[in-house]
Symmetry: none
Subunit: 150 residues, 2 copies
DNA sequence: AGTCAAAAGGTCAATTAAAGTCAAAGTGCG
DNA sequence: CGCACTTTGACTTTAATTGACCTTTTGACT
């Protein structure tokens, strides 16, 4: 972990951890000075690591009084909600599995989680009639949406 | 055992043994230098011997600050098997949750997985009679045991 | 209001530092 | 011999880092 980009990433994450609202604001140049790196390096780290896919929103302003604001967002919730919305009485187990695979491929769940969820779904399909099934499937999916890493 | 690939394999295994967390990180080029071999030889050994089937996970990054991380994945299966053995017709949902919590605290599942599995169990308890329940609970648990990371 | 300079942050292309790929050549055993 | 496994190195791809130059924003001074 002696590469600059990683050091910067950790630095930012630590700052965020010390806030309780998951939002921080920083001055790019000050930070570059503190970390003894090129200011553009900060930009690089932000654009490679603090992406929307990884659940961050970065906003900034130039000019005097400029800043960079980094916020962590629960993107997951939105995508999961969307997935859950596709589930109704008519959907087949195979179709549900496709939805799970999509979540998996977007890194919104691990393959272990995908395997588990598919297994559960199989059980539900086997044992429970269609109408009762729907809310169960949805709530199982949303269980993952509402849990954050580790 | 005087072939290079085997020597490299042993070298890596010895490094791992000297760590207590079964994870090592190394620079491919440095290692190649130390072992006086072509860097690509390291790649070869990793891809033939440190495979997922043999219980390893290899991750790497190119570019400056690049690295190769090798992790041995524990023989979870035994612990999971043990957990599954504790499940019988008499066990309550609360007791099952305790078992899950233990697996979780030993890092044999993530908290997301734990949440998911508990949710599934709740569904099973609610809908399915005791005798039929047991094999389902066991097979759900073992689904996780048999899946390896990522 | 208009202008201008200073103070931010952004872009991009060039450079350097890894690791990966793959085909070809080598080795050794049944 | 023939086949499977090793070994190598030239070439490819990816990641990180920097610095020169660009754009936006503000505020002070006409």
């Amino acid at each position: 972990m002696n590469n600059l980009a990683d050091v910067i990433e950790q630095w930012i994450l630590r700052q965020m951890a010390s806030e309780q609202d998951e939002i921080i604001m920083l001055r790019r140049n000050e930070m570059a000075e503190e970390l003894a790196c090129a200011p553009s390096q900060i930009t690089y780290v932000l654009s490679t690591r603090f992406t929307i896919e990884r659940g961050f929103i970065v906003e900034s302003r130039r000019g005097s009084g400029g800043f960079v604001r980094i916020a962590r967002i629960p993107v997951q919730t939105i995508v999961y909600q969307d997935a859950a919305n596709q589930i109704d009485e008519t959907i087949s187990l195979e179709e549900v599995k496709v939805i799970v695979a999509r979540l998996r491929s977007h890194n919104l769940m691990t393959s272990r989680e995908a395997a588990l969820v598919c297994k559960c779904f199989a059980v539900v399909y086997e044992r429970i009639p269609a109408q009762e099934r729907v809310p169960l499937l949805k709530s199982l999916l949303m269980t993952l949406a509402n849990q954050n890493e580790v």
